[in-house]
Symmetry: C2
Subunit: 521 residues, 2 copies
């Protein structure tokens, strides 16, 4: 439905001209007007439109749930991957990036029954090579355990080979029967980063879980994306894992939680299935302990969602393909003078290492403002004859309203600091709004009402039993338990608080924890 | 066959321990000995073994023609991609990196009949999602024309949208019936870079072909990979293209040419099929002119092949994951002193920006030399008590024999220059040996004899007719015409030489060009 509608309303629009470092001088005839829906009134439509209009992805491909990363979007994706790789490559014992095959022979895929069960109806099957039926059907990886673990079993021999930390960034496939949604529910995941680690002991695994949490915190903090860390209920744990810790981001308008990262302590489940053994220091054979953790293009989805407004994206400077755009304010007979100063200023910023663009297209300044606001460029610099006369530049930041005039001689320092400030400010603002969406209460009715009125995520006293959860989840369409908040998890806290005199919201048993529940994507 | 044999002989070996920036101190019990075949006596075996032993890829995956990029190999791949992206992103009008879907609905795939014909027997087909047969079968992209062009038709409206230069780096699939070969003939191409460009005029297309040739020259020059540039015969032109220019690298031992890059002038063939039109400056509708050009992991294959020797890889410093390895020479009671100096030297090199590793594993120096030679690290630095007494380091380069002693105070400059020297020297040496494999003669018998004795590629006078080519190719198993040498191509030369008084080696018609022929991969 969504996709079809997009196809209609968007068919006459197109991503803007690809340009050189300096925007081409050719004029453009296409009409520009803000056609973004109001972000608060119709977030879902806004989200689809901004992805298309800001040239992140084009989903008008002839296969539902598969999109094309466009030039601008791809640059944001690159930054996201750079941040990821930089952290994974530089842990005290580095994560080694590898790349495993996409195709999995059916017999190999079926070996791990628990995982397979979860994916049975979601796997794409290759059955023919050319016109010839294949002897063994091939699955397009929906997840990589069955691809990786038989290989790793060949690599690990002794405790000296441990720990082994690996990751890959690749595409994954899920045959989604339900409605697809740009960057969130897709058939081809284009940007799935999965780390898999192998250890000697259970304790090493626990340490690794901590490292994974710390890496993901840093990634999302860098994107300015707020999150909740929650241990999933046992019925929502990754099949075969001892436990699953998830990062969720509550979208600020829809108030629904999007799972943006998961971390699994796999124990020895998979090493036993795939026979990944090692020789211990005293000569015994033991199965390795494993963890795995993944994030995807949902990281990009959430940074779009939590910072954006009705005028478009707001990109944190660290992921912005362009940090500063210079717009010349041209008046008759002053064009050459203004362009000269703009060109000089462009060169100066370039030399200082700013990611800068000079927009010298022959279109109105208004259209330029619109264009770059939509794309979320953190800073716009305007230079006109008056500014030149006063030896100043006008600086407009994308994240908050207002224009500052800055002496051109102080501008480099000013802009450096402003970028840092925008980076922090976007994160802080999003976090503050995110925090306000979490409501703790001992009164189930109040919690249900809060969620029903689309106010966010509620924390209620809960016993952790699936029966109780089901009874409560039934109360509201789409209601789900996210699980146990970070503050109660012994592996993530030196001291864990135990709540006193609270009782499960359903069975009334005395309990020691509040659990999170809410609507989810 | 190959793969099976590998499985047996290699099952007890494994990629070495993944380590931190400083190699772990744990001892390793596995035996090390050079098990590489002699590169001159059995190049093909050497090639398979070095890829495995140096931890480039592991092909012991349960599906022929699909391998796993290992940590070390992946780092080389990363450098290769960096070099590529850096050039494509920074052309005067940049190439925009994008990412298109892997799956192509059958009806869309069948639209371009000429290309499809070439791939009919080579395409993997997805027929089921979960247990449900799909309404429309999906092809795994064997090439991306049918994926990209319908989208691009939506993007291009006016001459102002041109030129448009795009590229993507992704995986491609070919159901290879023939024997697969690591990095050269695979079922999953993991590293296919394809650029697609769109232009207003035929002339712009020609300019683009020149830019593409210049980009590929720079890429292969940086890798130190020698090449021949040849226009393919019309019967070997990409289906639908006006002409195809190819880069071939003659492997120095096998003397067979590997096609490592192709550049196609597509004219308007595809724009007519996919209806990619634009409005000209004077308001008419016209079809765009197109080019496309691709390179793949064969770039890595060729850099391995042309530089390596019987002791292993020789990596050009620009792609080496580690430029310098420091090996402490330890004597009893001097260990602490030596390790102190080595650590200091390591920190110094690190600070100077060298990619350096200190190998402090508790194994013999001999085994360390073996280990790093196999992996092609350009420079080894040895530091022992004698060196410390003399305030010097011992420097061993991987590319040529010999050891130099360098005062530690001069070492930084020395090492910087040495890396530059190795980079150039590897390229020069390979080019020189490559040049010697090309033989020009007017005598067909001599040419056939040259190729039959496995001496390389021959150039003979030739008319360009397919009939003549077939008659000549029949003379020798595996013999193939590569096409017309660069020096005769008007688009790549201001002045083109015309040979005089030479006659086609088969039909004896007077001709003006020598053509290249030889054995190919
Ligand atoms: Zn209960
Ligand atoms: Zn002839």
């Amino acid at each position: 439905m969504q996709a079809k509608k997009n196809k209609k309303t968007q068919s006459s629009r197109k991503p803007a001209k690809k340009t050189s470092k300096k925007v081409s001088k050719k004029t453009s005839k296409s009409k520009i007007q803000n056609t973004l829906p109001d972000i608060d009134e119709n977030f879902s439509e806004w989200f689809n439109e901004i992805i298309f209009q800001a040239e992140i992805l084009d989903y008008r491909y002839n296969l539902k749930g598969c999109g094309v990363w466009l030039g601008y979007g791809f640059k944001i994706r690159r930054k996201y991957l750079e941040i990821m790789r930089d952290l994974l490559d530089n842990t005290p014992i580095p994560h080694e990036e590898m790349l495993f095959p996409l195709l999995i022979p059916k017999d190999q895929f079926m070996k791990e029954k628990e995982t397979v069960k979860g994916f049975e109806t979601e796997v794409y099957w290759v059955t023919h090579g050319g016109l010839t039926p294949l002897d063994v059907k091939l699955a397009l990886r929906p997840t990589s355990e069955t691809v990786m673990y038989p290989m790793v079993a060949k690599w690990i021999r002794s405790h000296q080979d441990l720990p082994l930390k690996t990751y890959q960034i690749s595409n994954m496939f899920r045959f989604e029967g339900k409605n697809t949604r740009p960057l969130i529910r897709v058939r081809e995941l284009t940007t799935f980063k999965e780390a898999h680690t192998y250890h000697e002991t259970k304790e090493d695994c626990t340490d690794q879980i901590r490292e994974a949490v710390s890496i993901y915190k840093k990634i999302f903090d860098t994107l300015g994306v707020p999150y909740l860390i929650t241990q999933r209920p046992k019925w929502d744990t990754f099949p075969g894992a001892d436990y699953t810790i998830a990062f969720d981001c509550i979208f600020l308008q829809s108030r629904k939680a999007l799972q943006i990262g998961t971390i699994h302590n796999l124990g020895q489940t998979f090493s036993k299935t795939f026979d990944i053994k090692f020789e211990t220091a005293d000569g015994n054979q033991e199965y390795v302990y494993q963890t795995c953790y993944g994030i995807s293009e949902r990281g990009v989805a959430s940074l779009i969602a939590v910072h954006g407004d009705s005028n478009g994206l707001k990109l944190p400077p660290v992921v912005a393909p362009i940090e500063i755009v210079i717009v010349p304010i041209l008046f008759k007979n002053k064009e050459d003078e203004v362009m000269k100063v703009c060109n000089e200023f462009y060169d100066k910023l370039k030399k200082e290492g700013f990611k800068v663009r000079l927009d010298n297209r022959k279109i109105s300044s208004g259209r330029k403002y619109f264009h770059w606001e939509l794309r979320g460029i953190p800073i716009r610099v305007e230079i006109g004859p008056k500014d030149i006369a006063k030896n100043q530049i006008a600086v407009v930041r994308r994240d908050i309203k207002g224009k500052e005039f800055v002496p051109i001689d102080d501008s480099i320092n000013y802009l450096h600091n402003l970028l840092k400030d925008i980076q922090q400010s976007l994160q802080k603002t999003a976090k503050k709004r995110h925090d306000e969406l979490i409501f703790r209460t001992n009164d189930l009715e109040e919690a249900i009402d809060f969620i029903d009125k689309n106010k966010g995520i509620a924390e209620i006293p809960f016993c952790g039993e699936e029966d109780c959860a089901e009874s409560i989840e039934k109360r509201l369409d789409g209601l789900k338990f996210l699980g146990i908040p970070e503050r109660y998890l012994p592996i993530l806290n030196k001291r864990v608080k135990k709540e006193k005199e609270i009782y499960c919201s359903h069975c009334m048993k005395p309990v020691t924890k509040y659990w999170r529940m809410g609507k989810t994507y």
